[in-house]
Symmetry: C2
Subunit: 253 residues, 2 copies
Amino acid sequence: LGRIVAVVNQKGGVGKTTSAINLGAALGALERRVLIVDSDPQGNASRGLGWDGEGPLFYDVLSGEVGAAEATRPSGFPHLDLLPANRELVGAEVEFVGQEGWERTAGEVLGAVRKNYDYILIDCPPSLGHLTVMALVAATDVLVPIQCEYFALEGVSELASTVARIQGGHNPSLGILGVLLTMYDDRINLARDVVREIRRHFPDRVFDTVVPRNVRLAEAPSHGISVLEYDIKSRGAQAYLSLAREVLARTRR
Amino acid sequence: LGRIVAVVNQKGGVGKTTSAINLGAALGALERRVLIVDSDPQGNASRGLGWDGEGPLFYDVLSGEVGAAEATRPSGFPHLDLLPANRELVGAEVEFVGQEGWERTAGEVLGAVRKNYDYILIDCPPSLGHLTVMALVAATDVLVPIQCEYFALEGVSELASTVARIQGGHNPSLGILGVLLTMYDDRINLARDVVREIRRHFPDRVFDTVVPRNVRLAEAPSHGISVLEYDIKSRGAQAYLSLAREVLARTRR
Ligand SMILES: Nc1ncnc2c1ncn2[C@@H]1O[C@H](COP(=O)(O)OP(=O)(O)OP(=O)(O)O)[C@@H](O)[C@H]1O
Ligand SMILES: Nc1ncnc2c1ncn2[C@@H]1O[C@H](COP(=O)(O)OP(=O)(O)OP(=O)(O)O)[C@@H](O)[C@H]1O
Ligand SMILES: [Mg+2]
Ligand SMILES: [Mg+2]
């Protein structure tokens, strides 16, 4: 059965979507079967992979209108499928809240396709609200992108206590796949300080791979393709390939 | 009566907090009386201004435990006060929702201190949820920071329709103070394309001032001070001073 990895950090703009798309593509390039689930109403992962806006959505799957298998579609990149989202996903935040067991919905609907994939990556919004909680309850692992900047440090303990709460309640088997340092710029002293601080916070969970600030990562989504397809030689693409190899080692696949 | 400016964009990491802190400080430097209200449970604006974590919070004001005047405190920068927040603010999202007229709460509690300030800047979380809606209902103006990157473009129409909904309902007098382009790096073609696209979307609402990507802006909050105090000669500080002058011109003060 495939691993379900929730890509989570309530701090905005730290590289969650960029990591979901490009780690997904990198695992695909290493011939693992991957599904990216867009669980952010902004729909950035969907747009960033060139989705045309048509067809069933993750929202339709969550509300039981279609099965997950029907809503997944090829991304255009080998071994990489997408389950898209748009603004309608906000409805899930509102509709499911009153229902008993709402937090298990994502896990239940994705269960139907887990056998088809080695990895399912769930891109989460910048919040610790219902959509993120649902992803954490569904997940086998959590991957936390952290930008190498001051405000990003502030939110880490809040995120850690949310994960611990889920581990202590709805999902005792949730593991921490790792912490990924993103947008690293070695010319900035602050970045070196933050990296040292994060490695101290999470002694053996920080990936060796550090994703550098690299403009190709910001350009690729405007073409609707991953950075691997956009510019495989870029430092951004190489970083996500290196990360994918680390993920394979940590999950022994 | 002071203008209440909601600093809003559901896209994460676009410079909302950086703009609230540094526009606030720049207006203070120009001898206007300014209050920064932290309405994001991340509490970045509070930490970024060196708040020690003590004393009453915006959450306490919203729940009626203390008056706004009691919870505001000096930031340490001339003419600039802070109404701080921390994670407890999440409680407001949950508690107020069922209450009739919850969306007017922020406007009502801030009404008590409006006469003491020329500008009240409300820093919002990366979402269009209750805390942001409450700020938009309380506000006289909205200021929208937009990062010069692809994903930032995607969310603009969603934000515009939320603002229009509020203008058509709870707050007909809400105006658009302006759209601020942030983290501009003129070496990146994408940034130039995004700037052209945003100026097309919002003819005559985009500020002439474009905030460049400038490391001093990312370093200042780790010292608990605005960039004006940290490095007044930096391109970041100069940009926010220029923005403050444009805000004064647009609000004729
Ligand atoms: N390593 C990098 N180098 C340069 N730009 C990057 C890098 N990683 C991400 N970006 C860009 O930074 C911006 C923020 O990244 P992204 O949207 O992936 O973050 P996010 O955490 O998903 O944001 P949100 O909180 O809004 O969901 C995007 O414009 C993206 O293209
Ligand atoms: N012009 C700039 N140049 C360089 N760094 C910047 C600039 N503006 C903001 N930053 C840095 O980029 C990061 C994101 O900015 P900030 O936290 O202000 O965005 P935000 O929109 O408030 O994020 P959130 O959506 O999480 O509330 C921060 O680490 C900040 O220090
Ligand atoms: Mg994202
Ligand atoms: Mg912020």
